[in-house]
């Protein structure tokens, strides 16, 4: 397409990355005192915060509680200053509600909810700066926050986006690449069992290319899972040193 060239002839993308290269990831756990678990995650220029409260008694209507598992309540919202144009409705609009539902469904697949019947786990995610891959940054941050809260999970949940340009699959799209008109696929993966928690794609793609696209997304998720694992181990080391003193 004319205008933005997603992949140059030498194989470089708009921000200078190679096709399968992920953006720089920085993450920290246990950033807030009030919450049971919290995490801050940066994937390139996208900054996401995840906060977990729970498991606690179901708030509001008792009828929402399930007799054999915990209810997971997710809320996704973007800060008004997170996008180039000020976001007038940070939560309650259709996109946020859809994202909240996706997050809830993703984590219902991963969290061992049968261990906490009749209780509720709240996951609040906030995007402080948006540059593509909002859903993925949220899922990764929420995974770290759940680990920080000590809530048992089947596996890490790692998410990443993937796109398609000039016959090559691109991993971890930034905002310009997502809105550039090409394909964008979001994938949430449980890496050890290679099971897919969520997959979403909104664009036209020839079905022959689907396999390459899925492969690229799964490779990216596996790479991310290694990063998340190292963050968790490092945090545990720091915490154990502090508690020993």
């Amino acid at each position: 397409m004319a205008g933005l060239e997603l992949l140059s002839d030498q194989g470089y993308r708009l921000d200078g990355r190679k096709a399968s290269e992920l953006r720089k990831v920085q993450a920290r756990m246990g950033v807030f005192g009030q919450a049971d678990g919290s995490a801050y995650m940066e994937q390139g220029n996208t900054k996401a915060l995840a906060v977990v409260y729970g498991p606690h008694e179901v708030r509001g209507s008792r009828s929402k509680s399930l007799h054999d598992r915990a209810v997971i309540n997710c809320q996704y919202s973007m800060a008004t200053f997170s996008t180039a144009e000020r976001k007038r409705r940070p939560h309650g609009d259709r996109k946020s509600s859809e994202m909240s539902l996706h997050l809830k469904q993703t984590f219902e697949a991963a969290v061992l909810t049968q261990l906490y019947p009749r209780s509720q786990i709240d996951i609040y995610v906030k995007i402080l700066q948006s540059d593509g891959g909002n859903y993925s940054a949220c899922v990764n941050a929420a995974t770290l926050a759940l680990v920080d809260a000590g809530i048992p999970m089947r596996d890490y949940v790692c998410a990443c986006t993937a796109g398609f340009a000039e016959g090559t699959a691109l991993a971890d799209l930034c905002h310009a690449e997502e809105t550039g008109g090409g394909t964008a696929l979001s994938l949430a993966l449980l890496p050890r069992s290679q099971s897919i928690a969520l997959v979403q794609m909104d664009a036209r793609l020839h079905q022959d290319h689907l396999d390459t696209l899925m492969e690229a997304a799964m490779e990216a998720c596996k790479g991310l899972s290694k990063v998340l694992d190292s963050v968790v181990r490092q945090h545990l080391q720091e915490v154990s040193v502090l508690s020993r003193d």
Binding site: Q34, Q75, A79, F81, R86, H91, Y124, Q129, D131
Partner: protein
């Protein structure tokens, strides 16, 4: 065993627990009565916003993002722009806040910030006017609490001031022929900050004891709250004591003097952080 007993006392009889510390002129976290929690500041971390700042007073974490938009000035103030503050207390900052429309505390905090902006004249609204009756800036100051542990108002004012100092607006001219606005993104200028207000909050316990910078626990146990806002010329910009137990005039004067000292500490901190961000660029 002793830690279990103190935890029990803290949960079952929180007022007695705090009183036992106040008798010794200190507080459960080891602070003195007139001591603020360690304050850290981080400026300019959000690059989608025109200006941003993150402040931490102890555990209380508040972030402010400034977004600027162009608008038509109102007919009764054609040479003035707008500054719109908004305080958001989302459920992620504490379990006491539920999801939904802004609650009472968020709305009163937003109104307080708006009053401080008007009374202290931190930015002259005339500076935000680009062309009289035709075009002006609207500055949306979105303040969001990320972790609530008491003393929200102090943190909001500090983060607002730091974000406004960090904010840069592009140069806008109106083309004479087409009557359209032309924005030059390469020429960015800082805002002219005319006043540096800093807030200090106090809590009153048991008629006589005044503590500075209350935590969430201390706020829930105190009998009155007081916030004093002073500027760099030691002038009082705002005084906010929403009800509660009565306070003598000399105690009030002590609080105001403490607020004046705090203003100097915070101004130094903001200048230091701004300098180090400039040098690291």
């Amino acid at each position: 065993l002793s830690t279990n007993v103190t935890c029990f006392v803290r949960t079952a009889e929180p007022l007695e627990y705090h009183r036992s510390f106040l008798k010794e002129n200190c507080r459960p976290d080891g602070r003195e009565l007139g001591e603020f929690r360690p304050t850290t500041l981080n400026i300019g971390s959000i690059n989608t916003a025109e200006g941003s700042a993150l402040v931490k007073i102890g555990n209380t974490t508040v972030i402010c993002g400034i977004k600027a938009e162009l608008a038509l000035p109102s007919s009764d103030a054609p040479d003035k722009g707008y500054i719109v503050p908004n305080v958001d207390l989302p459920p992620l900052c504490s379990s006491r806040f539920r999801p939904g429309p802004p609650g009472e505390q968020a709305q009163t905090a937003s109104q307080f910030i708006a009053d401080v902006i008007d009374s202290s004249n931190i930015i002259k609204k005339e500076d935000l006017c680009i062309e009289k009756s035709k075009l002006c800036w609207v500055l949306y100051c979105d303040i969001m609490c990320l972790d609530y542990d008491g003393n929200l108002l102090d943190a909001c004012i500090i983060t607002l001031l730091a974000a406004l100092k960090n904010a840069q607006l592009p140069k806008v001219t109106i083309n004479k022929e087409t009557d359209l606005a032309e924005v030059e993104l390469q020429h960015k200028r800082h805002l002219q900050i005319r006043c540096h207000p800093v807030a200090s909050s106090f809590a009153v316990f048991d008629d006589t004891v005044i503590i500075v910078d209350p935590t969430a626990e201390e706020e829930s146990l105190c009998r009155a709250l007081l916030t004093a806002v002073t500027d760099e010329d030691d002038q009082l910009c705002a005084l906010h004591k929403p009800g509660g137990i009565s306070l003598s005039a000399e105690k009030l004067q002590d609080c105001i003097s403490r607020a004046v000292t705090r203003n100097r500490e915070i101004s130094k901190l903001i200048d230091k952080v701004i300098q180090s961000t400039e040098m690291s660029k």
